[in-house]
C-alpha cells in the first residue's frame, strides 16, 4: 500500500486557497503610512476595528500611540490589543520603503477563549483565597471567644469567691448579735422602748442573715457540686426558731403570723436541715416583704416519709407572666421597690431540686400567694452511723459533762458562749488560740470542748486532731462559719463529735446544755 506523497513546496493554487481562507478568518486590515505617519492607503474592513472614515485622524492617532516610545527601526508585534471599539487584534508594525505599514489581525475569538479560561481560573483562585481567609478569621474569632470565656469564668470565680468570703465573714458577727439579742430579750423587766429597739435589731439581723445565706448559696452553687447534708432534723425546734425569728417582724408591720407543725410520731426525719431552714427563711421573709395587710401562714407536715411545707400570704401576688421570672436570680418580678436582693426564690427552687423535692405555687394578683413544697426523707442517702452518731454523742455528753473549755478568738462570741454555759451550771474556761487550747485540754481535760474552726495560727480542726492523737476523750463540739458538708466532714474526721454552724441556734444549744445538767 502506497503512503501519502510529500512535496517540499505548496502549489501556487493551494497557497492561494490557504491565503483566501486565512484572509477570511483573520479579516486583516492593512494601513500604509508614509515616513511622517500620513495614512496613504488602507486595505480591509476598517470599521471592524473601529476606524471611522470620517474621523481618520483620531483613529490614526490612537494607532500611533501604540508605538509611543518604541524604537522604530525594526518590526514590532503586539498581541491582543484592544482597539478603540473594544475589538481585540494582533498588531504588527512593518517598515516598508521608509514608510510604515500596520497590519491588524482580528484576535477576538482567541481573546474570548483565553479570557473565559482565565476568568474561571482567576475567580476560583480568588474564591479559594477568600475562603481560606474566612476560615482563618473564624478560627481567630473562636480563639478569641475561648479566651474571653476563660477570662469571664475567671472573673466569675473571683466574684463567687468574693461573695462567699463576704457572706462567710458575716456569720461570726451575726452569731454574736443573735446570741446577745437572745440574752437581752430574756430580760423580763426591759422597758417598752428597749424591747422595740431589740425587735428592730432582730428584724435587721434576720435580714442580714438571710441575705448572707443566700449570697453564700448563690456563690456556692457555681463553685462546687451540691452535696446534700442529711441529718436528723428536729422540726419542732426549727418551727420554734422560725416563729421567734419572724413573729416579731410580721407583727411589727401589722401582719398575722403563724407557723405550725403536724408531725406523726416515730423516727425523726432525716433531711438537709440547713437547706430546709434556708428554704423556709426565704419563703417566709419573702411573704412578709410582699404582704401589706392580712397574714402569713406557714405549715410543716411530716407524714409518710415526706415533708410538706407551705407558706401562704395575702400579699401582692405574682402575675401569670412573671411566674417563671420570679425564679431568675436578681429578678424581683416588678417588685423592685420592696427591697431584697432578688435571690430568694431562685435559691429556694435550686435547694428544692437539690433535696429531690417538688415546688409549686398558686397566686392571684392582689390576693396573695401560696407556695407548696414537698421534700422526701433522705435516710437512703445518709451514712446512718455518721448521722445518728452526732445525735447519740450529744446524749453521751449530756450524761457526764460538767466542765467546758471554750476556744474562740472572738471575745464577743467566747463571752456569749461562756455566759450560756455558765448559766446552765458548767465550769467555764476560755482560751483564744488553738495552741493554748491543746495545752489546757491536756493539762486539765474538760468534759466538753467548744472550739471555733477559724482561729489564728493553728485551726480549730488541727487542735482537735492533736488532742485526739494524744488521747483526749472528751466531747468536742466544733463551731464554724462555713455551713458546708465538706466543712462538717473535715471537722468530724479531725475528731469532733458535733459540728455546729454560726450563727448558733441559741435556743437549741441552751436546751441541750440544760438537758446535760438535768441528766448530770
Amino acid at each position: 500500500m502506497n503512503g501519502p506523497s510529500v512535496n517540499d513546496r505548496i502549489s501556487p493554487e493551494l497557497e492561494r486557497q490557504i491565503g483566501r481562507l486565512l484572509f477570511e478568518k483573520m479579516q486583516p486590515l492593512l494601513l500604509e503610512f508614509d515616513r511622517d505617519w500620513h495614512l496613504v492607503n488602507l486595505h480591509g474592513d476598517a470599521a471592524l476595528f473601529g476606524f471611522a472614515p470620517d474621523d481618520a485622524a483620531t483613529s490614526v492617532q490612537q494607532l500611533q500611540d501604540l508605538f509611543l516610545g518604541m524604537p522604530m527601526e525594526a518590526a514590532i508585534d503586539l498581541a491582543f490589543v484592544q482597539m478603540p471599539n473594544g475589538r481585540n487584534a494582533h498588531v504588527h508594525l512593518m517598515l516598508v520603503d521608509g514608510g510604515h505599514q500596520v497590519l491588524l489581525i482580528d484576535a477576538q475569538g482567541e481573546h474570548d477563549r483565553q479570557q473565559a479560561q482565565q476568568q474561571v481560573g482567576n475567580e476560583s483562585f480568588l474564591i479559594a483565597q477568600q475562603k481560606d481567609k474566612a476560615v482563618r478569621q473564624l478560627r481567630q474569632i473562636r480563639s478569641e471567644l475561648e479566651s474571653q470565656r476563660n477570662r469571664l469564668q475567671e472573673a466569675n470565680a473571683l466574684k463567687n469567691a468574693l461573695i462567699a468570703t463576704l457572706s462567710h465573714d458575716f456569720r461570726t458577727p451575726l452569731a454574736s448579735i443573735f446570741g446577745y439579742l437572745h440574752l437581752l430579750e430574756e430580760e423580763p423587766d426591759a422597758p417598752l422602748e428597749t424591747r422595740n429597739s431589740l425587735r428592730a435589731l432582730r428584724r435587721n439581723a434576720n435580714y442580714l442573715f438571710a441575705l448572707a445565706e443566700n449570697l453564700l448559696e448563690y456563690a456556692r452553687s457555681e463553685t462546687r457540686s451540691s452535696l446534700l447534708a442529711p441529718v436528723v432534723t428536729d422540726l419542732q425546734m426549727m418551727v420554734e426558731d422560725l416563729d421567734q425569728m419572724f413573729r416579731v417582724q410580721a407583727e411589727d408591720v401589722g401582719l398575722g403570723f403563724s407557723i405550725t407543725l403536724d408531725q406523726e410520731p416515730g423516727e425523726p426525719p432525716i433531711l438537709d436541715e440547713l437547706r430546709l431552714r434556708q428554704i423556709l427563711v426565704n419563703l417566709i421573709a419573702n411573704a412578709i416583704r410582699y404582704t401589706q395587710s392580712g397574714s402569713v401562714r406557714a405549715s410543716l407536715a411530716w407524714r409518710g416519709g415526706s415533708l410538706v411545707l407551705s407558706v401562704r400570704d395575702t400579699g401582692v401576688g405574682i402575675a401569670q407572666e412573671a411566674s417563671e421570672a420570679v425564679f431568675v436570680p436578681f429578678n424581683r418580678a416588678g417588685n423592685a421597690g420592696n427591697g431584697g436582693a432578688g435571690l430568694g426564690l431562685s435559691i429556694v427552687k435550686r435547694l428544692v431540686q437539690q433535696m429531690l423535692g417538688t415546688l409549686e405555687f398558686e397566686s392571684k394578683l392582689g390576693k396573695g400567694t401560696c407556695f407548696r413544697i414537698e421534700l422526701p426523707d433522705l435516710t437512703h442517702l445518709v451514712q446512718k452511723v455518721d448521722a445518728r452518731a452526732e445525735s447519740e454523742a450529744g446524749q453521751m455528753l449530756a450524761e457526764r459533762a460538767s466542765s467546758v473549755l471554750i476556744v474562740d478568738d472572738d471575745p464577743d462570741m467566747s463571752h456569749l458562749l461562756g455566759e450560756i454555759m455558765a448559766g446552765v451550771g458548767f465550769r467555764v474556761r476560755v482560751v483564744a488560740d488553738a495552741t493554748r487550747a491543746v495545752e489546757q485540754a491536756l493539762a486539765d481535760p474538760p468534759d466538753i470542748l467548744l472550739v471555733d474552726v477559724e482561729l489564728p495560727g493553728l485551726s480549730g480542726n488541727t487542735a482537735v486532731f492533736r488532742l485526739r492523737a494524744k488521747g483526749y476523750r472528751g466531747h468536742v463540739v466544733t463551731i464554724s462559719a462555713t455551713p458546708t458538708e465538706e466543712a462538717r466532714k473535715v471537722a468530724l474526721n479531725a475528731g469532733a463529735n458535733q459540728f455546729m454552724t454560726k450563727p448558733i441556734n441559741i435556743e437549741q444549744f441552751t436546751r441541750a446544755m440544760l438537758r446535760v445538767r438535768r441528766l448530770d
Binding site: 505617519w37 490612537q62 500611533q64 500611540d65 501604540l66 508605538f67 509611543l68 516610545g69 518604541m70 524604537p71 514590532i76 508585534d77 503586539l78 498581541a79 491582543f80 490589543v81 484592544q82 481585540n88 484576535a107 481573546h111 483565553q114 479570557q115 482565565q118 476568568q119 482567576n122 475567580e123 483562585f125 480568588l126 483565597q129
Partner: protein, 166 residues
Amino acid sequence: MSTNASKVCLLGDFGVGKTSLVARYVRNTFSDSYLTTVGVKVDSKEVPLADGAVRKLVIWDIAGKSGLDALNMSYLRGASGLLLVADGTREATLRSAVDLLLQSRSLLPDAHAILLINKLDLVDRWEVAPATLVELRKSMTVIETSARQGDGVEQAFREMATRLHA
C-alpha cells in the same frame, strides 16, 4: 507623534483593580463585576499641569500577572512610567507588585514608578499593615486608592504626569 505624550503601564497581579483604576480615571466609571483582562487595553488622557502645560498619558492596562512573561515584556517597551498596583486586602499582591517592579527594571531602568495600594474602600479588610507602607514609602511613592470611590486615583495619575513632565 506628539512629544508631550508619555506611555504609562499599569502592572500588578490579577484582580487588584488595574482596569477599574483606568476606567475611574479616564471615564469616571466603576463596575463591581470582575472581568479579567487578556492582552492590553490602551487609553489616553491629557493631564493639565500646574505650570499650564498639558501632558498626555497613554495608559496601558496590561493583563494581570504575578510575574513578567515575554508577552507582558513586549507591552512594556517604550514606557516612561509604571504604576504598580496591589490590592490592600491581599498582601500577596503587594509582593507581586514589588517583584514586577524589580523585573521590569531590566527593560526600563529609568521609568518613573509609583505604587498604588487599591481597594481603600475595603480598608477594614486590609491585610497590608500600615507599618509596611511606612517602610515602602522610604524607597518609593505609595498612594492608597479606591477605584470604587475614586480616592487617590486622580492624584496618582497626576503625580505620574507631573514627574514625567519634570
